[in-house]
């Protein structure tokens, strides 16, 4: 099947408006005869479910947690971008569009990104109307902060928990519709397959996670907003339950999977401390506004620190290597995430890591304490303040800005970051790749849509900070509810979809057989054993830097782990009860396939772009020596993979990317 992105014709500024004007609509009386299933209730799924219900559709929403409010969008800390230009610093729709395309290293679809920038302002209006308590200044108007990789202040925030507040907004809109009976909410349910009838997505098979019952649910369209696949690495900042199962099931039934190798490794996370580690914790990127990143210059100091003979605060300024400031004088500590992460890895690989695992660098606020302290002394007219007074005044400012993050750090590491620098290391955080969708957000299965992090479309090869929340809500509130009407307009006479058909029988049988296999298999190893093994291969060979040999090995190794999994996995408990091990087994089985496709995709993409760094594709000399080298001539396309059984046999389809409104340039942060 040839890929058709269905991007409307015309100038980029008018595409979305013109398209909306011509799109088919479903009349309100007919909407109540149409059912839509929404899988996942994070920012994308939650906002879509609420809006579709407001429009009049009958929505069935599914979440594996006990409440829609717990989806992992909740963990986003920093903020949400919008081109409001409230600060009068020259922001505009075009500039947000430009920054996002450039930040994504020119691997996203231009028309989608422009639409995203266009609706970003509506999101803020909508959220304020819903009662989202964004931060405000003393005049009562909304406050903004800055994020990495851009030159304006366009990030709206609610303390350090913007994600929770936006999700609570979408959740409250859902609650209103649940109360009216327009959304039927299925908490503690997991989608285990999609049902295709006459080539169209017409329902799902779901498991009730409390009783273990397998249920059939039909609808005229299925929307998947189930998040990203970062947990393929085992250790990531994702929630423990975050999984790729819904996305992977639709892939196996015909939805192409795009750019799986584009993963964001976030530079400021708390380093791992031991083999028992279950997940990693992110520290907001906003910390890089005031923190300076360094490792010792001399190896003797590194060893002395690791052995506890020296403290980081014992090192003088010229014994420290502020490597980001050294390598990237223009952007310094505020280079984009992919660049900061690779630079940390480079230092640690060279042996300069500052903790026992050798995988940590310092994030130091000492100079921020001093800078703010001096400023405060001046404001409060304190003459000749002592260094201790300056530090005290400065710490108060830093505490007001990042207090909750400092507290979180101290709880986990048991060190006071006001007295000693934080230790950080990059961790898997977000996946830009995902299910391929067209301009309507429809997958290659008619009637099956994919939104939010689960799709591939807007962030290219690297996502900018505060753009994930924007995309999730844009898709759910403002894009999908319009575009889905164009498809559903043909379904007004279809009537209720029956679940008593052969297609549902077959899908349910497959799901049941797989569950029965797990609970009856007399294996010897836990699900986590395999998940950790997969994660190690992914991190070592498809992590922050990749090469052809490593990726080829990764494909073979993942296949071997998968084969062992299907022989040796042990799942205690039964099928007809709450069984968390059984849930995990199904998810890890899917990750074991996705991981191999990921490595294959990374192998095919023999260029470096964004979060995907191929060691063979680096600048060899000149001022950019050692930096990533993108290859627009051969790789300015989206890789969309068609399922053919074994992941190694997946067939590549290319969507060529055209850039009419932006000139392709090398990203330089020097």
């Amino acid at each position: 099947m040839a890929l058709d992105s269905k991007v409307p014709k015309g100038p980029i500024k008018n595409k979305w408006t013109d398209y909306k004007n011509k799109i088919d609509l479903v009349n309100p009386a007919n909407k109540r005869h149409i059912d839509v299933i929404v899988v996942g209730t994070g920012l994308a799924g939650g906002s879509a479910a609420a809006t579709l219900a407001e429009l009049g559709y009958n929505v069935k929403a599914f979440a594996y947690q006990d409440s829609p409010r717990r989806a992992h969008s909740i963990a986003a800390q920093g903020g949400i971008n919008a081109a409001k230009n409230y600060q009068g610093d020259g922001d505009s729709t075009y500039r947000l569009f430009y920054d996002t395309v450039k930040g994504g290293d020119y691997r996203s679809r231009e028309a989608n990104v422009y639409r995203l920038a266009e609706v970003s302002s509506n999101i803020i209006d909508q959220c304020v109307a819903q009662g989202v308590p964004f931060a405000r200044d003393y005049g009562g108007l909304l406050d903004n902060r800055s994020f990495g990789g851009v030159l304006v202040s366009r990030t709206f925030y609610a303390k350090g928990q913007t994600g929770q507040q936006l999700l609570l907004g979408a959740y409250s809109a859902m609650n209103r519709q649940i109360a009216r009976g327009k959304i039927e909410m299925f908490n503690r349910h997991e989608m285990l397959d999609v049902v295709i009838v006459d080539g169209k997505a017409r329902g799902i098979i779901a498991r009730n996670l409390i009783t273990g019952e397998i249920e059939r649910h039909s609808a005229h369209a299925v929307v998947v907003g189930s998040g990203g696949y970062g947990n393929v690495y085992f250790l990531s900042t994702n929630a423990m339950g975050s999984n790729a199962t819904a996305a992977w099931k639709i892939h196996k039934k015909g939805a192409y999977f795009a750019n799986p190798c584009y993963t964001q490794i976030h530079p400021t996370c708390i380093p791992r401390s031991g083999d028992y580690q279950s997940k990693l914790t992110l520290m907001s990127e906003s910390l890089r506004n005031d923190g300076r990143i360094w490792v010792p210059k001399n190896m003797e100091d590194v060893l002395a620190i690791r052995e506890g003979r020296k403290k980081p605060t014992d090192l003088s300024e010229d014994e420290r290597d502020y490597y980001l400031e050294r390598r990237y004088p223009a952007f310094g500590n505020l280079v984009p995430r992919d660049v900061a992460s690779r630079a940390a890895k480079e230092r640690c690989d060279a042996g300069y890591g500052v903790n026992a695992t050798g995988e940590a660098v310092y994030l130091d606020f000492a100079s921020a304490f001093e800078r703010y302290g001096k400023e405060q002394a001046k404001i409060h007219n304190i003459q000749n303040p002592s260094p201790a007074k300056i530090k005290e005044l400065g710490q108060a400012i830093v505490e007001a800005k990042y207090g909750n993050l400092f507290q979180m750090y101290e709880k986990i590491i048991d060190q006071n970051p006001y007295e000693t620098p934080m230790m950080i290391y990059p961790a898997v955080h977000y996946t830009m790749g995902g299910v391929w969708v067209d301009y309507n957000l429809m997958t290659t299965i008619p009637g099956c849509y994919c939104i939010g992090e689960a799709n591939f479309s807007d962030h290219g090869a690297n996502r900018l900070g505060a753009s994930a929340l924007m995309q999730g809500l844009a898709d759910g509130y403002f894009v999908l509810p319009y575009t889905i009407g164009d498809y559903l307009a043909d379904d007004i006479r279809t009537g209720k979809i029956s679940t008593d058909t052969e297609e549902f029988d077959i899908a349910e049988k497959e799901v049941t057989e797989r569950i029965n296999f797990f609970v009856n298999n007399e294996g010897t190893k836990s699900v986590d054993y395999f998940h950790k093994k997969l994660g190690k291969v992914m991190w070592d060979k498809a992590g922050m830097s990749r090469n052809a040999q490593g990726l080829t090995e990764a494909m073979a190794e993942i296949k071997a782990i998968r084969e062992e999994f299907w022989k040796e996995v042990s799942v205690p408990g039964g099928a007809n009860e709450m069984n968390p091990e059984l849930e995990k087994a199904g998810r890890v089985a899917d990750f074991l396939e996705l991981g191999e496709l990921f490595a294959k995709d990374a192998l095919v993409r023999a260029e470096s772009c964004g979060g995907h760094f191929r060691e063979e594709s680096a600048e060899l000399d000149g001022p950019q020596k050692g930096e990533a080298k993108r290859n627009d001539e051969d790789f300015a396309f989206v890789s969309a993979w068609e399922y053919k059984g074994e992941p190694a046999d997946a067939v590549l389809h290319k969507e060529e990317l055209e850039f009419n409104d932006i000139e392709l340039k090398q990203r330089s942060y020097k």
Partner: protein
């Protein structure tokens, strides 16, 4: 990095399902690092159980960074265990000593029935919010500009403080009356403090309180235990505000 290598005895509530009778069961875990989180210690136990063919202990958890509100254990008689301002997933083993016996129970309340082991059903919270925990505004993309109604920083900050509630239910589990007043108070307050929420304030507080009573939560007798155990430090002031809102709403009729 190896820790102190603590050896611990765990007394854990095991219950097959909602209709079965539960009981405390003893387990041993060894060589537990002080750097582990409490839930990582539970992972160690569960791995041990799986490897010996036994059913692992079911417990709710997800984000493991203190924000989703899913984790819910009652540890040594305290919701989310010893230490303040944290959820169970943020509790670390350095709070315990070698040789300790740790008692682990589910959150207990008539309105939070046990589903399995340490997993409880908190959908009563869902229904309270469905009764009025929202502002009746449709998604149109044409709502007025976000800055058209200035909101004083003080009110916005107070609304934010109320909105930090993660809906974990520690307040209910802690309260000797199993009252949900702190939770409902926080939800009512967030909206009551914002001009957008004031339009429906009177109906909201009455509907939410009615649903709260219907779910079987107890009354507030001002012991303040909920505020102490709340991982997000939600203030008792929110209960007082809800009471004022409720009184005003019912007097208006």
């Amino acid at each position: 990095m190896s820790g102190k290598g603590m050896n611990l005895t765990l007394k854990i509530w095991r219950q097959k399902d909602a209709s079965s009778k539960g009981q405390m069961v003893d387990y041993k875990v060894t060589d537990i690092s002080e750097h582990m989180s409490f839930l990582e210690m539970m992972d160690v136990l569960n791995e041990q159980l799986v490897n010996s063919g036994e059913e692992p202990v079911a417990f709710d958890h997800d984000c493991r960074e203190g924000i989703c509100g899913m984790c819910s254990m009652y540890i040594n008689g305290e919701a989310h265990g010893p230490d303040r301002g944290i959820t169970t997933c943020q509790l670390h083993m350095r709070m315990f000593n070698d040789g300790d016996t740790i008692t682990i129970e589910p959150f207990r309340a008539a309105a939070f029935p046990v589903i399995k082991d340490l997993v409880v059903d908190r959908t009563s919270f869902e229904r309270i919010q469905q009764a009025g925990g929202y502002i009746s505004v449709n998604t149109s993309g044409n709502t007025q500009d976000a800055n058209s109604i200035p909101i004083s920083k003080h009110a916005a900050d107070e609304a934010m403080d109320a909105a930090t509630c993660i809906g974990c239910g520690a307040c209910v589990a802690t309260c000797k009356n199993s009252s949900a007043m702190l939770f409902v108070g926080a939800k009512v307050s967030q909206y009551a403090l914002l001009p957008q929420g004031q339009v429906e304030a009177a109906d909201r507080v009455q509907n939410m309180v009615a649903q709260m009573d219907l779910e079987g939560f107890g009354n507030c007798t001002n012991t303040g235990a909920c505020e102490v155990e709340c991982p997000k430090g939600i203030s008792l002031e929110n209960i007082a505000r809800m009471n004022r809102e409720y009184l005003a709403a019912t007097l208006k009729g």
